[in-house]
Amino acid sequence: MSSRFRRLGAVALGAAGMALCGLACAEPAAAAATASTMPWWAWPAILFVVSFLLGIVAVLGGVGGGVLFVPIVGGFFPFHLDFVRGAGLMVALAGALAAGPGLLKSGMASLRLAMPLAVIASAAAIVGAMMGLALPAKVVQTALGATILGIVVLMFLAKKSEYPEVPQADALSTALRMNGIFYDVASGKEVDWKVHRTVKGLVLFIGIGIMAGMFGLGAGWANVPVLNLLMGAPLKVSVSTSKFMLSIVDTSAAWVYLNQGAVLAMITVPSLIGIMLGSLVGVRLLKKVSASMVRKTVIAMLLLAGSRALLKGLGIWN
């Protein structure tokens, strides 16, 4: 049974990689020929399959769907980046909405930790969304590529701390009661947690919100290091609270994209359903697939997609 799951995981990763490589080779000609040579349903169908594979890989790689979706679909599909970012936000939002209730009920995500940070980040996400829609596509594409490559570096370098040392909670987090207890199933223990450096965290969430809105990425890749390494929340609380926070932050940006006409159902809905179904499969494969192999695949995919976005933005690889 477990070898079957391992084979399935390897097949999913291989298929995702091959799909990406295939798109990379075919894209320049295909994008130009979209309207004339392919039926209208072909790209949404391919999008659904790729989103499904991305959903699997995202869960296995421990990244949000949006961070893979936007650079890959933006780089290798014929859709304009405006619509891809709109869909990316909805993908990240739907994933967060689906995960949020369970994380909140179990006490792994903390509403009191999320609310002050989310209000700052969601206001910033509106600014980011407006900037993204106002700037020329090439500028956004270039900045997106640079950001994705930055995320790759972050994935290489950033350490994670299961239970960071917080000698004393700061005054602000104490006043806001940004603390709690969660039950760590792995160790079978209750863990008391508190946070510090709250003001610095709030400032950083302005930048995170702007990037989430501008690129439609979701921002778990940035939320988690700030919550965990800077503010000192336990890793599981950071990951869970980050995922829940996306449901708030991405909502504000999603409204801007929706009202600006940058959400197309034909792109958004197949992506959303594909990623959600893929995530369900990914969760089942999670315990069976080698974490290091998945991590390398995700980094390789991000490297390719980030480079593609950067070079496309700079007009070098059109």
């Binding site: 739907a94 209730p101 009920k105 609310m115 209000v119 829609l133 039950y183 504000s252 006409g261 034909m266």
Partner: protein, 142 residues
């Protein structure tokens, strides 16, 4: 109950549980609406504002050009097109985008009853931010 830790104790606060409950139902209802309206659009049950073939010609253009070519306007004007297949999908998308604000409004009385002034203010502020984002008055474009 399935989401409770396996030691049977409850670690989430009252407002967190209420928020989770509403979020759960909002997400499920929104997702069902989204899938149903999309299937209607995909299989041509409802006539779209922009035909599938025309959409495939336009989706590689910036949103500004798309709106101009399809004679569509920004803001809440999509409501006037809600009877058409493509814009009918916006019911589910807008529903999912509105769930968070509804959850905040639902837990607001809990903060007020607990005389938690700071979180009452934060909850109100968040709703105002989301309403501003949803208002359609924030216009940008390239």
């Amino acid at each position: 109950m399935a989401d409770m830790p396996d030691n049977g104790k409850q670690y989430a606060s009252e407002e967190q549980l209420v928020y989770a409950h509403w979020l759960d139902w909002g997400m499920k209802i929104g997702f069902v609406i989204l899938v149903v309206t999309f299937l209607g659009y995909l299989f041509g049950v409802t006539e779209p504002h922009v035909s599938h073939e025309r959409l495939a010609e336009l989706w590689s253009h910036p949103v500004r050009d798309y709106l101009k070519a399809t004679d569509t306007h920004t803001g809440w004007t999509w409501l006037s097109l809600i009877g058409q297949g493509d814009y009918m999908n916006f019911i589910g998308i807008a529903f999912l985008s509105a769930v968070t604000a509804v959850c905040y409004l639902r837990i607001l009385p809990i903060f007020i009853a607990a005389k938690d002034k700071v979180f009452t203010a934060i909850a109100i502020l968040e709703v105002l931010v989301l309403v501003l984002a949803a208002s359609g008055i924030l216009v940008s474009g390239h």
